[in-house]
């Protein structure tokens, strides 16, 4: 393993990689020396990543490498596991979200999340989308109507559901449910959207629709997407981070990662030699 030495000082490496991106974009998430343990298990090791605004950043890596853990750390969802311990810093818009004074609810209002399995609430389609605005205190029916329509349009599902907004969301197909979940997430107009394998439970056609949607959404939002599917990462992301055993092995422009990875392990993974 010749790259071992590089890994020993990941800061340097990631900075170097960041330097390779378009300089005019702002950094939305800056992760510094992040370490995370589940009890004794060291799940994230010295993560350093700077994620840009209005880009799609893909996170790839074999199962168990810590992708979900990382993305769930970005909105502190990982804290729902009681045994979790975290060290390091994650700066979101320059503020350390791991700071105790930072309210997770505020963070999660600005940072939306879409999960691997579509997880609509067992409520009507309308109520699903209106859920976020409502819990944040928006009661005005007219405003809610507007938000719902706008969000469903934003998630490219409006035409399919506009006639049955009051039906239960569980009547939708898996792909529709996932787009509904995206709409739900858009409804509170987040700044960043985290997506954890949003298409892994979907059929190819629905996958395509969600991928297109992601491409559109990046105009307005910053998107971080975890995926098992290398082709997907190549298709839709601007940057790609490759995780292995809880470490970031490589982080660079997607083109570069998939054409000329600088790390042997990245190459092995991308060419399907393991994982």
């Amino acid at each position: 393993m010749p790259v071992m030495t590089e890994k020993a000082n990941p800061n340097v490496k990631t900075d170097k990689l960041n330097a390779g991106t378009k300089e005019n974009k702002k950094v939305v998430y800056n992760t510094k020396d992040l370490n995370l343990w589940y009890g004794e298990g060291h799940a994230l090791k010295n993560i350093n990543l700077a994620i840009n605004e209005n880009e799609v950043t893909a996170i790839i890596g074999p199962s168990g490498c810590g992708k979900s853990t990382y993305i769930k750390t970005l909105n502190r969802m990982v804290e729902l596991v009681p045994s979790v311990k975290i060290s390091g810093e994650i700066l979101y818009r320059e503020r350390n979200i791991l700071d105790k004074s930072f309210k997770v609810e505020d963070l999660r209002t600005s940072v939306g999340m879409v999960f691997q399995k579509p997880n609509p609430f067992p409520k009507s389609i309308y109520e699903n989308v209106a859920y976020g605005p409502k819990i944040h205190g928006i009661r005005d029916k007219k405003i809610l109507d507007e938000i719902v329509e706008k969000s469903l349009r934003g998630a490219a599902i409006w035409d399919e559901v506009k006639d049955r907004l009051n039906q239960n969301a569980y009547g939708l197909s898996g792909g529709q449910q996932q787009r509904l979940c995206i709409a739900r997430c858009l409804a509170i107009e987040p700044d960043v959207i985290l997506m954890d394998e949003p298409t892994s439970a979907l059929d190819p056609i629905s996958t395509l629709k969600v991928e297109e949607l992601v491409q559109e959404l990046k105009e307005e939002f910053s998107i971080i997407i975890v995926t098992h599917n290398m082709q997907q990462a190549a298709r839709i992301s601007d940057k790609t981070a490759f995780f292995l055993n809880g470490e970031v092995i490589e982080f660079a422009e997607t083109d570069k990662i998939f054409s000329t990875p600088s790390d042997k392990r990245t190459e092995d993974y991308i060419t399907g030699r393991f994982g």
Partner: protein
């Protein structure tokens, strides 16, 4: 915070003039500090509610204990628990709890003599012999049996079972401990059956297959493998059944009369602890008399009895939880 988000907003949402949800949300957030208070208060309130169940137990113990202590000032502890004569009314009241204890134990024993074999056999049939279809048909029927109020069983014991038994057993008194004991057993059958069936159903099929592959008949599989493997759950169901029998009130109140004689003759009327409580509360309510305190002493005895049974059942099913 506000600054940052404004920044973000103008960067991303500069084009949307009509509706700016993010801004509205920020506005609302500011005016809703109440939220934090609720968030902090709710767990405390819920804890208070959860504590009520504990308070109920404490309440039961305290009410029983204070009056019981008063009772033992009048009647020596030893006399109460060894006295075979119970004559709570009239001039020379005597308080010996033994007749009530024998009444309770005998009625429970009769009940379990009915409930254990029939309940266990029912469980075995449902778990080992019945087809899925039959089981799905029979179980709800047993649930109905379990859901019938005890007063109905009392009526049944008094107006139906007793007359039948009396035509078979000539010496049987019109109120006797046998009939309510049997009916109590019938009442407990579904409980024993369903808990035992649960225990047997959780024995993995691999175990049955292992025995069947050795040429065992179903009976041999059941009796020598499944039942031993599920024995703790089965015994726990028996213990819970006993606890239920001890605490059962209306059936014995109606069908067993109120004789306080110390006897082991099941054809006679006997009184259980529960029936005594009903009789005394129904008949007497003036606080401060020994009779009044005796009510609590008996209730305390009953409470301790059932508590021990329940703890034993919990202990058995926890300690010997089947590990396959």
């Amino acid at each position: 915070m506000k600054g940052v988000l404004h920044l973000a907003k103008s960067a991303v949402h500069g084009n949307n003039k009509k509706l700016n949800v993010r801004e509205i949300i920020q506005e609302k957030k500011k005016s809703r500090s109440v939220n934090n208070v609720t968030e902090k208060l709710i767990p405390k309130i819920l804890f208070g509610i959860a504590a009520i169940s504990v308070l109920t137990t404490i309440g039961i113990v305290l009410t029983l204990l204070t009056e019981t202590i008063a009772f033992f000032k009048d009647v020596p502890f030893i006399d109460f628990f060894t006295g075979t004569k119970l004559k709570p009314l009239g001039e020379n009241a005597v308080f010996g709890v033994v007749p009530l204890l024998t009444g309770t134990i005998i009625s429970s024993a009769i009940a379990m003599l009915v409930a254990i074999p029939i309940g266990l056999m029912t469980a075995i049939f449902l778990s080992e012999y019945a087809s899925e279809k039959l089981r799905r048909m029979l179980k709800p029927l047993l649930e109905i049996l379990a859901g019938i109020p005890t007063i109905v069983y009392g009526f049944f014991a008094f107006t139906f079972v007793t007359p039948i038994l009396r035509s078979i057993i000539p010496g049987l008194e019109p109120t006797n401990i046998l009939s309510p004991g049997i009916v109590m057993g019938i009442m407990i059958i579904p409980m024993v059956a369903s808990l035992s069936e649960d225990a047997m159903s959780s024995v993995p099929n691999a175990m049955r297959e292992g025995a069947l592959a050795l040429g065992a008949t179903k009976l041999e599989v059941t009796w020598k493998v499944v039942v031993p493997a599920a024995i703790s759950g089965i015994i726990a169901s028996f213990v819970l059944g006993i606890s239920r029998a001890i605490g059962e009130t209306m059936i014995v109140t109606i069908a067993s009369g109120s004789s306080k004689n110390f006897t082991f003759d099941v054809t006679q009327s006997m009184q259980t602890m529960t029936a005594y409580i009903v009789e005394v509360t129904g008949g007497e309510a003036a606080a401060g008399t020994t009779l009044y305190y005796s009510l609590y002493a008996v209730a305390m005895t009953l409470f301790v009895f059932t508590l021990i049974m329940n703890l034993i059942a919990q202990y058995i099913s926890r300690r010997f939880r089947e590990e396959y």
